[in-house]
Amino acid sequence: MRAFRKHAGWLTALAAGLALLIMSGVLVQMAGRPSLKLDPVQGDPELLKEISLTGVMGDESCSVEFSLENGELQQRFSSKGLDLAQMYRAPSSMAFTTPREGDYWYQPCVAVTPEAGAEVTYEEQVKDGGDATVWFGVQRITRCDSIRIWAGVHRNWDYTAGGSSGEVWKEAMTKTEIVLDMEELSRWYGRELVLVQESGYYSLLIEEDGSYQKPQSAQQGLENMEYQLWDPEENHSVSLTGLAEYLSAASLDGNTYFVPDIAPDWEGEGTIYQVEEFDEWFVSVETPNSARGRVREVASFRMEEGWKVRGLYALEGEQLMLVLSGKDSIRVQLFSAATGEELDRLEVQAPPSISGYWDFAEMKQNCYVQSDGVVLYLRGGNNYWCGGFTARDGKLESLILNPSNMILPTAAAMVDGAIVSFTEHNYGDLDVPLIAYVLQIQGENASARCQIRTPIYQDRISMEGASPCREMYQIVIKGREQP
């Protein structure tokens, strides 16, 4: 006891230090414990050795980097949280909706101008604003025989400078060779259409006698506003956007390409364009629908009636892959971005439909873009279709699957002639409530499936308040031999 009293200070400090060390050791040991578990489910597990999968699971507080190499799952815990904005910028094999490259995002756009037989009228619009106000606007209505399509692409990125932040928008737009007959267009949409330029609406005060002063400025400069395709009966604009939506633009290595994509049927020569220089957006608001930036024609293709643009993809080796769909077939054309030459072409027929009816135009698509190809998933009604296409040295390779149902994968890629997908499955009957990701390799001759079980289900059931919730990010699927 005397010795204890004599050395109480050192002993106490030693005991506290030891306790801290032991507890730290327990936590460090926890960090080394694997979070993800790999279970082969069916097929030849040796096939797993042919692919590599990397990704990160985490939230803003912590993360686990993992990789599947040579059939073995490696993982490393990090107490560093993820920069989620950065997660979306990095290349991945995950579902692709808006073309992007680095910090830049690309959005294709289309515009119209009257081409022939234009006849202009003005119409004042008055809307009751309630109380003592009215909303007043002017529409410049153009009835015409035909309209011309303009196409382009917007490029935007976020900036942060000097404590302020915002978005920067640039634009490139060009006049296309597509001219649509207004009568046919109205028939296609099933309603009579016109072109309209709107002034915007002004709030006016109503005098005691019920009158109000119309602003003189409402009609000024109206001819410089953008044209909208308009349904005068329903008094609203009609969208021209086609089936490819954002996927009609593509970018790789700083080069941006786009193809006009509109909803109405048209027949003729389609063109793929390359943006050589972007212009400031709105810089030429005085001359709407005129060319902006600098755009050159890269390649042309034949557009037959009933066919639609489904996507344009910029691939390595200056190759452009254009995907078109007809009623029951998909056509893939490969072009050289440098010479415009068509390098290869594939046409795939749809399988017999379960419901006896098949129309690709009515099927929604999801796409997964990789540097040398694309995997497309289309679904509509009871019909499902999945195709993988890669382009190497000007040659197209494809694999078509006809799934009987479809859970859209988180990530997918075409690797060495097989479609590799990474799909989230939630198995509620597991003893431990884990989400399993199913990694599936489907080739012409062999297939394999394995599960990667993750604990993120627990995060999702505890979403109280602003609790962080771990997710999978930056999933990249590659072949073993690929760089």
Partner: protein, 245 residues
């Protein structure tokens, strides 16, 4: 070194039971207060911990430790300081021995608080194990230490956090002693460096909790805290050497 050890043991002998009591209070109060928090399906450990009285108890215990350090230094001035200064050891060693004793006290408090969290987690596992539809988070304790600002203060998951923790504890010991010296000498301007150190401490504390620090980014406050610590140590050593109380 022998003299330093002797001085350290002398300093510690004045507060051995208080230190053990503080450590035990930290160890016991955390699970006790945590046990009152409500648990329901999906409520994570860190949410239940942050919502319980345990973090407040930890703050009170740290406050008690600081108060005790100020009190025990002031007690040296009640007729004993001359004896202390005439001990056969360098005056700098006397000061450093005092700091080491304070640091030991804070180390015990830290271990007690961290141990309390471990015990609380054990209690949490026991509780949710008996309820239907509730699962423990896999590696839940580690995730809690990553996700909760309060728990990250107790167990920093990275080197900079450990450095920050040591700095925050050091300045508590150094600042308490400096405050006592200033009170004893009625040195009003001594409040200025103390105030600056306090401001830096609070900002680092806020940054560690995950709250935004408006004016300067957290590393600048850390540097400020380091500079304040160096100044307080150097000035305290100068005061002790000159016996300028």
């Amino acid at each position: 070194m022998k003299r330093f050890s002797m001085l350290y043991c002398r300093e510690f002998s004045f507060r051995v039971w208080q230190v053990w009591l503080l450590g035990l209070a930290a160890l016991g109060s955390q699970p006790l207060l945590f046990s009152f928090s409500e648990l329901w399906s999906g409520r994570r450990f860190e949410q239940a911990y942050d919502g319980s009285g345990a973090p407040a108890a930890a703050v009170i215990l740290v406050g008690l430790a600081v108060g005790w350090m100020v009190y025990s230094t002031l007690r040296d001035f009640r007729g004993g300081i001359d004896t202390l200064l005439t001990l056969p050891a360098r005056r700098g060693w006397i000061y450093l021995a005092k700091m080491a004793a304070f640091a030991s006290m804070l180390l015990v408090l830290w271990a007690g608080l961290l141990g309390g969290v471990f015990v609380s987690y054990g209690w949490y596992l026991l509780q949710i194990g008996t309820r239907a539809g509730m699962w423990p988070m896999e590696n839940g304790l580690l995730l809690a230490f990553c996700r909760s600002g309060v728990l990250r203060l107790l167990f920093p998951p990275d080197v900079s956090g450990i450095f920050s923790n040591l700095l925050m504890l050091t300045i508590l010991a150094v600042g308490s002693c400096y405050a006592s010296f200033s009170i004893a000498a009625k040195r009003v301007w001594g409040l200025i460096p103390l105030g600056i150190a306090g401001l830096c401490w609070v900002q680092v504390f806020r940054a560690r909790l995950g709250n935004a620090v408006d004016s300067f980014p957290a590393p600048w406050w850390q540097l400020g805290l380091l500079a304040a610590t160096v100044f307080l140590v150097v000035h305290s050593l100068w005061i002790v050497r000159k016996a300028d109380f």
